[in-house]
C-alpha cells in the first residue's frame, strides 16, 4: 500500500513504462493529443489552433524545426500579428488597419536583425562583434529617442513607431540569438524565427530561452518525445488545479458578485478590499484599518502568485507537448529559503534573461580583484538595472504617450523597486552560507526562512504596481499605514 508520502495528486505518468510505450504508438499519440486538447480547452480560448499545431509536430517530429517556423507565423497571423492599438487613434493610424502593414513591419524588423546578426558574426573582433547586445539595446534606445523627438509626418511617424513596437517585442529573443551565435547547437537564424514569439505563447521574455538551449532540451527519440509530452499533460493538469485554487481564493478573499458571490458552491467570503482600494485610500479618504491593509496585501500577493504560476505553466506545458522538455517557470516559490532563491523559483525565465544578458557580462568584466564586490555589482546590474530597463522598454505605450524622459520619471517607483530588489538579492548571495540543509532544523528550513522571504517579497510587491500615476511617497504612505502610522 503506498505511503502517504508517496501520494501524488497528479500521477507521474512519464515514469510508467507502459504509458510511455503506449504514447509512442499512433493510437497512443492520438490519446495524448486529445487529452491535452481537452485540458487546453479549459485553459485557453486559443486551444484549437494550438492543438492542431501540436498534432502536426507530434506526427512529424523530424520536421520539428521548419514546422515550428510555420506554426509561429501562422499563430502570429491568426492572432492579429502584434498589438498596435496605441497607434490606432493617432493621425495616420488607419495605416495599421491595412492587411499588409503589420506583416511588412515584422519582415522589416526580422531583415534588419538578420543583417545585424550577420555583421556581428563577420566582425567578431570589432566593436560591434565584441558587444553586440549592448549595441543593439543602445540602437533601440536611440530609435525611441529619434521617434520621440524628430517631427515626422503622420504616416511616417506611425511607420517608425510600428517598427519600434515590433522590435521591442522581439528584442530579448534577438539578444538570445546573439548570445547563442557561437554555441555549437545553434541552428540557422531562419530556423530560429520559429522560437521568436513562439506559438506556445509568452511575453517579451523568451520562454524557454534561446535556440541553443532549445536544441539541448529537445526530444531526440520517440521515447523522449513521449516522456516530454506526458510531462506536458501533467503540468497542464496542475495548471487546471491551480486555476481552481485561484478561483477559490478569489471567492474566499474578495467574493465574486459577477458569479453570484459563489464559486463551485463556495459562498464564503472575507470581503477583503482589493489592493488598489487600500493603496489609494490615502489623503482625503477614510483609511482602512491597519489589519485590513495587511489582509489586502497578503491576499493580492497570494492570488498574483497563483495566477502567475498558471500563466507560466500553461506556456511550458505546451512547449513540452511540442517536444521541448523545458523547466517550469515557477517552481515551489513558497519553499524558497533565501531572497535570491525565491527569485529563481518565481520567474525562472526572466531571471535567466537577466543573468545571461546582464549578470554574466558584468561579472566577467568588472571588479575582478574584489570577489565580493564583483558578485554584488553583477547582481545589481541584473536584478536592478536589467530588470528596470526591461520593464521600461516593455511599457512602450507609456513611452509613446509621455515621451522617453517623462516615461522614465513616471517609472521612478519601479526604479526604486529594482534598486531594492537588486541590493537585497546581492546581499542575499553574499551572506548565504553553504550549510547543508540537514544541519538546519525543520522549523528553520521549512517555516522561518520561507516566511521571512515571503514577507520581504510581499512588502516589496507594494512598489511593483503598474499604475504609473502614483509617486513614491504614495507607496511609502501605504507602507506606514500597514503599521498603523498615518502620516499627515
Amino acid at each position: 500500500m503506498p505511503s502517504q508520502a508517496a501520494f501524488r495528486l497528479i500521477p507521474a505518468l512519464d515514469t510508467y513504462p507502459k504509458v510511455v510505450a503506449l504514447a509512442q504508438t499512433i493510437p497512443g499519440k492520438i490519446v495524448v493529443l486529445v487529452v491535452y486538447a481537452f485540458g487546453l480547452s479549459l485553459h485557453t480560448g486559443n486551444w484549437l489552433l494550438i492543438s492542431m499545431i501540436l498534432a502536426v509536430l507530434t506526427f512529424f517530429p523530424r520536421y520539428r524545426a521548419p514546422l515550428l517556423v510555420c506554426a509561429t507565423f501562422i499563430a502570429l497571423y491568426l492572432g492579429g500579428w502584434l498589438n498596435f492599438d496605441i497607434l490606432a487613434n493617432i493621425e495616420g493610424g488607419e495605416l495599421i488597419g491595412r492587411a499588409w502593414f503589420k506583416p511588412v513591419v515584422i519582415l522589416v524588423v526580422l531583415l534588419f536583425f538578420a543583417g545585424y546578426y550577420r555583421l556581428v558574426k563577420e566582425k567578431k573582433g570589432g566593436w560591434l562583434g565584441k558587444r553586440p547586445i549592448r549595441n543593439l539595446i543602445l540602437f533601440y534606445l536611440g530609435l525611441i529617442c529619434l521617434a520621440s523627438t524628430v517631427p515626422l509626418p503622420g504616416t511616417l511617424w506611425i511607420a517608425v513607431w510600428a517598427v519600434v513596437i515590433v522590435l521591442g517585442n522581439y528584442l530579448w529573443y534577438f539578444t538570445y540569438a546573439l548570445l547563442d551565435r557561437q554555441a555549437k547547437e545553434t541552428p540557422h537564424l531562419g530556423v530560429q524565427t520559429g522560437h521568436f514569439l513562439p506559438f506556445w505563447g509568452g511575453s517579451n521574455v523568451p520562454f524557454p530561452k534561446g535556440a541553443a538551449y532549445l536544441r539541448r532540451i529537445e526530444a531526440k527519440t520517440p521515447e523522449q518525445l513521449a516522456v516530454c509530452q506526458l510531462k506536458g499533460i501533467k503540468l497542464l493538469a496542475w495548471t487546471l488545479v491551480l486555476t481552481l485554487v485561484s478561483g477559490m481564493l478569489e471567492q474566499i478573499f474578495y467574493g465574486n458578485p459577477e458569479r453570484g458571490d459563489s464559486f463551485m458552491g463556495i459562498t464564503l467570503s472575507m470581503g477583503i478590499p482589493s489592493f488598489n482600494s487600500v493603496l489609494h485610500s490615502g489623503a482625503g479618504q477614510t483609511p482602512y484599518p491597519w489589519y485590513m491593509n495587511w489582509l489586502a496585501l497578503l491576499a493580492s500577493f497570494c492570488v498574483k502568485m497563483v495566477n502567475f504560476s498558471v500563466w507560466g505553466h500553461g506556456i511550458i506545458a505546451t512547449s513540452r507537448m511540442a517536444g521541448y522538455n523545458a523547466l517550469r517557470n515557477t517552481y515551489k516559490p513558497l519553499q524558497a529559503t533565501t531572497i535570491a532563491d525565491f527569485w529563481n523559483r518565481y520567474y525562472y525565465y526572466f531571471k535567466e534573461l537577466l543573468v545571461e544578458n546582464f549578470f554574466y557580462p558584468a561579472f566577467l568584466r568588472y571588479f575582478k580583484k574584489s570577489p565580493r564586490l564583483r558578485l554584488f555589482f553583477a547582481t545589481l546590474a541584473a536584478a536592478g538595472f536589467g530588470n528596470v530597463l526591461f520593464h521600461y522598454l516593455r511599457d512602450i505605450d507609456v513611452i509613446i504617450t509621455l515621451g522617453p524622459w517623462q516615461a522614465l520619471v513616471a517609472f521612478h517607483v519601479y526604479l526604486f523597486y529594482g534598486i531594492v530588489l537588486g541590493t537585497a538579492i546581492g546581499l542575499s548571495q553574499l551572506l548565504e552560507k553553504k550549510r547543508p540543509a540537514e544541519q538546519q532544523s525543520w522549523l528553520t528550513r521549512r517555516v522561518m526562512k520561507p516566511t521571512a522571504v515571503i514577507v520581504f517579497y510581499c512588502l516589496l510587491s507594494i512598489f511593483d504596481n503598474p499604475d504609473r500615476s502614483m509617486v513614491l511617497s504614495d507607496y511609502f504612505s501605504f507602507l506606514l499605514r500597514l503599521f498603523n502610522i498615518h502620516p499627515e
Binding site: K130, L178, L179, D180, R181, Q182, A183, A212, Y213, R216, V355, E356, Y360, P361, F363, L364, R365, K368, P371, L375, Q429, K434, P436
Partner: protein, 82 residues
C-alpha cells in the same frame, strides 16, 4: 600535473561542497544534471581566470558550456589535453 588534472581536482572539490563525493567522468554533466548551480559555475570561471589566466569577457558566455570537464577544457585550450 596537467591542466586537465588541475581542473578535475578543483571540480571534484567543488562537487564535494555540494555533497557529491563520488568520482565524476570527464563527460559527466555538471550543470544540466543539477549537480552544480549557477554560483558554482561562477566559481569555475574565477578558477579559470586565476589558475590559467583566461579572460572570458569577450567571448559569448553560456553556463551550459561549463557542463563537463571536457567542455570546460575547450576554454582552457589544447595543452590541457596532453
Amino acid at each position: 600535473m596537467t591542466k586537465k588534472d588541475t581542473l578535475r581536482t578543483f571540480i571534484q572539490s567543488l562537487l564535494a561542497e555540494y555533497g557529491e563525493t563520488s568520482a565524476i567522468g570527464d563527460d559527466n554533466s555538471l550543470v544540466l544534471s543539477g549537480l552544480l548551480d549557477s554560483l558554482a559555475v561562477l566559481r569555475i570561471v574565477v578558477f579559470l581566470e586565476e589558475e590559467f589566466g583566461l579572460d572570458l569577457a569577450d567571448q559569448g558566455f553560456d553556463q551550459h558550456d561549463f557542463d563537463s570537464v571536457t567542455s570546460i577544457m575547450r576554454f582552457v585550450g589544447d595543452e590541457g589535453d596532453r
